[in-house]
């Protein structure tokens, strides 16, 4: 039972990342009809927003500590971040400690701007082009973005730890009456899950309850008609692209503390998130979210010892296996609309 709950939690957690990325992909696909292979790169850039902010906050001046030596035997240069000298060591250290949550604020405008620039500068010209061309150009863009990040930050993963107070784990099992150590779960992973739920809820509420959202939804269903009503739908779609980029970016910022970001993390997620989107059904936002969580949970259960001893290798193929089964039994994925991307 406790093992079961633990894997549910893990699944929800994995699913959160899948769902957030798939949600953004579907938004872009549903509104603009563009297959965005650079979406994984946006997720990666989000994570590197946190890295960048941390680097900015720890910009330091050097003082020489003659009592110690560096690896070459010279006197050691000690680095003190400017924030620590400006706000005092304690406040300064606290600001640096909280750089990941702060990066959320930092990332929103950055990602919106990147999304906006991407749509206006590049994607706009590809609406009428075949999907194959969209794939090629966004894939090229993904490579470029990733290589630029690699150029500045290197190929190794870079730690973006959560604030001291939010590190470690809580014993959830004990809270609900299991014995100690039965269900221990990291605090940040719980935060990540609730964050994902909040963002997904926010996007849905935005689309459901605002006039802007209503127009966008109408446009997703029938672009021409909405255009005929004299509404500048393109402009709104551009903004939606920015929002989708921001969702991916925020997902990236929050993901950093779970697994240290590296420049190719976007590619690692890219294929998986496409599988999630398609299993959910092209163009369906609830489908994308549902499929994200479903695949996350299935993946978690497939990696239990029980599963891997029963069927060796099942943990490596589960997602693809489930995708095949779902697509063969439900032709348009879980909640797909008819006629979207079928030709």
């Amino acid at each position: 039972m406790d093992a079961f709950l633990l894997q549910i939690l893990n699944g929800l957690d994995k699913g959160s990342a899948y769902a957030l990325i798939a949600l953004g992909l579907t938004l872009i696909f549903g509104t603009l009809g563009v297959v965005n292979f650079a979406h994984g790169a946006l997720f990666m850039i989000g994570a590197f927003c946190a890295v960048t902010l941390e680097r900015l906050l720890t910009l330091s001046f050097e003082t020489i500590d003659p009592t110690k030596t560096d690896f070459l035997g010279n006197p050691l240069k000690v680095k003190t971040p400017y924030v620590e000298s400006w706000f005092g060591p304690e406040t300064g250290a606290a600001i640096i400690d909280w750089s990941v949550p702060l990066a959320l604020i930092f990332a929103i405008p950055v990602m919106l701007a990147i999304g906006y620039a991407m749509e206006r500068g590049l994607i706009k010209h590809f609406y009428k082009r075949p999907h194959a061309d969209q794939i090629l150009v966004t894939f090229g863009l993904a490579i470029v973005l990733q290589e630029v990040v690699k150029y500045f930050f290197g190929a190794n993963p870079i730690q973006t730890p959560p604030p001291e107070a939010l590190r470690g784990s809580v014993d959830l099992g004990q809270m609900i009456g299991f014995q100690a150590n039965a269900i221990i779960y990291p605090i940040w992973r719980l935060i990540y899950f609730f964050f994902a739920v909040a963002v997904i809820g926010g996007v849905f509420a935005f689309l459901q309850f605002t006039t802007f959202g209503m127009v966008v939804r109408a446009g997703m269903a029938d672009r021409e008609t909405v255009g005929l009503l004299g509404i500048n739908i393109d402009r709104r779609f551009t903004i939606m692209f920015g929002i989708a980029a921001a969702v991916a970016g925020l997902a990236g910022v929050m993901y950093g503390p779970l697994n240290p970001p590296n420049y190719h993390m976007g590619m690692d997620f890219l294929v998986l998130s496409f599988v999630v989107v398609v299993v959910g059904g092209m163009g369906s936002l609830p489908g994308a979210v549902l499929a994200g969580f479903l695949l996350g949970i299935l993946e978690s259960f497939a990696s239990t010892t029980w599963a891997t001893t029963t069927l060796p290798g099942i943990n490596q193929i589960i997602i693809y296996l489930v995708a095949i089964i779902i697509l063969l039994t439900r032709p348009r994925g879980l909640m797909g609309r008819k006629g979207v991307m079928e030709d």
């Binding site: 999907h131 794939i135 863009l141 470029v144 290589e147 299993v279 290798g313 490596q316 991307m341």
Partner: protein
């Protein structure tokens, strides 16, 4: 000629001449010069050009004609390679049975996957093929290489060991893949002054095979069968109401292109008897998609150009390092030299991916029809110029 139209015959002849003279064409720079870095006329890369050309031409039969975008074609290439290496391990280093088996096995494998995947169309089809290929990759990488049942030798790749049976091998024959005793590695180098040109047995085997399958591809493109496939891409709806069951046609195209992939895989193993699991990964499937789109989807020569383009960057640009740069810009004054090296540095060596990504974007933005369109535009421009020239010349006379 050979049942081809005039235009196609010309194309085939041009391709044949280019392929057979590739050792000259690809080595335009003298061996010792600074530009020698850009020479591509060494056996391994020439083989790769041709092999990936075959792969992409085959992929184009499916994607270019029917519009079905498979994201799992690398699996067939991988299966072909594994089959070929198994022939080497069990029977003989002669490449013919190995290549034959790789085509057959890839054909059967693609029949299976195609039969299931073609029940869906559009992106659903793409994801099904992707899923099958990724499963094959994952299994080949770990599960199928466990010590008890080692089919693929996992991460290292399947290779021939000295204690393998090789029942039909004899000591007279080379200890490497060969064609009736003629080693695939045998290379004749011809020196002409500062230039040197390599003529490699393996390359010419690949080249001949490519010309054959390229001819076959032209025939398929021009046949009623090819027309039916293009009709499937153009309007599936009308096709359904024309009394034609499209499934056998698309499945045939899928299997044919799977066999092309298997052939490419078999040749790869024949040139270098090692089959790595990575050649089945989605990135490898994606690469052939990129090759085809980059070159020009649905054109005959496009995929070959795209394959050459990508492989050239992967193998040539990745090898340029700062030392080479300093060599190039050495004639400049010191400060300027460093500036130039600094500017070019991010795009070469470990930055070759960046250059490739930028070129993908540039090509697709400015040449919607791929490299083939670039060629056509160039040809038109030249023709236009010539026409203008002749007009200008004739005008005063009038």
């Amino acid at each position: 000629m050979l049942g081809l139209g005039k235009k196609d015959t010309t194309l085939l002849i041009v391709v044949a001449v280019l392929t057979l003279c590739a050792p000259f064409i690809l080595n335009p720079f003298p061996a010792g010069s600074a530009m020698a870095q850009f020479n591509a006329g060494y056996p391994d890369l020439m083989q790769r050009f041709v092999i990936f050309g075959i792969f992409a031409v085959g992929f184009n039969i499916l994607f270019g004609l029917t519009g079905y975008l498979s994201f799992g074609h690398a699996a067939f290439l991988g299966v072909g390679s594994y089959s070929a290496v198994w022939i080497f391990k069990l029977f003989t280093y002669n490449v013919l049975p190995a290549i034959a088996l790789s085509v057959v096995v890839a054909g059967l494998f693609s029949l299976l996957i195609g039969f299931v995947s073609l029940r869906r169309s559009g992106i659903y089809f793409s994801i099904l093929t992707l899923a099958f290929a990724q499963m094959s990759f994952a299994l080949a990488y770990s599960v199928l290489s466990n010590p008890k049942f080692n089919l693929t030798n996992g991460e290292t790749g399947l290779q021939v060991y000295t204690d393998d049976p090789q029942w039909f091998h004899s000591d007279r024959l080379p200890d490497l893949p060969h064609l009736f005793g003629l080693s695939m590695r045998a290379t004749h180098t011809m020196h002409m002054g500062d230039w040197s040109f390599s003529f490699n047995t393996g390359y010419y085997l690949c080249a001949v095979v490519m010309l054959l399958v390229f001819y076959l591809a032209i025939r398929i493109f021009r046949s009623p069968f090819g027309m039916m496939l293009r009709a499937v891409k153009s309007n599936q709806q009308r096709m359904n109401y024309t009394g034609l069951n499209t499934r056998p046609y698309t499945l045939a195209a899928f299997v044919i292109s799977g066999m092309y992939a298997g052939l490419a895989g078999g040749l790869m193993a024949a040139m270098d008897p090692l089959a790595g699991a990575e050649r089945m990964q989605w990135t490898a499937s994606g690469e052939v998609v990129l090759m085809t789109i980059l070159g020009g989807t649905g054109t005959l020569i496009g995929p070959v150009l795209g394959a050459g383009f990508i492989k050239y960057f992967e193998n040539i640009f990745s090898k340029i390092n700062d030392t080479v740069l300093h060599g190039w810009f050495g004639f400049l004054p010191d400060g300027l030299e460093d500036v130039m090296v600094f500017i070019v540095h991010p795009f070469i060596g470990k930055g070759w991916h960046l250059t490739l990504g930028l070129l993908f974007m540039l090509v697709v933005i400015f040449l919607p029809g791929g490299l083939v369109e670039g060629g056509q535009r160039l040809a038109r421009w030249i023709r236009g110029r010539r026409a203008e020239d002749s007009r200008r010349k004739t005008e005063p006379a009038e």
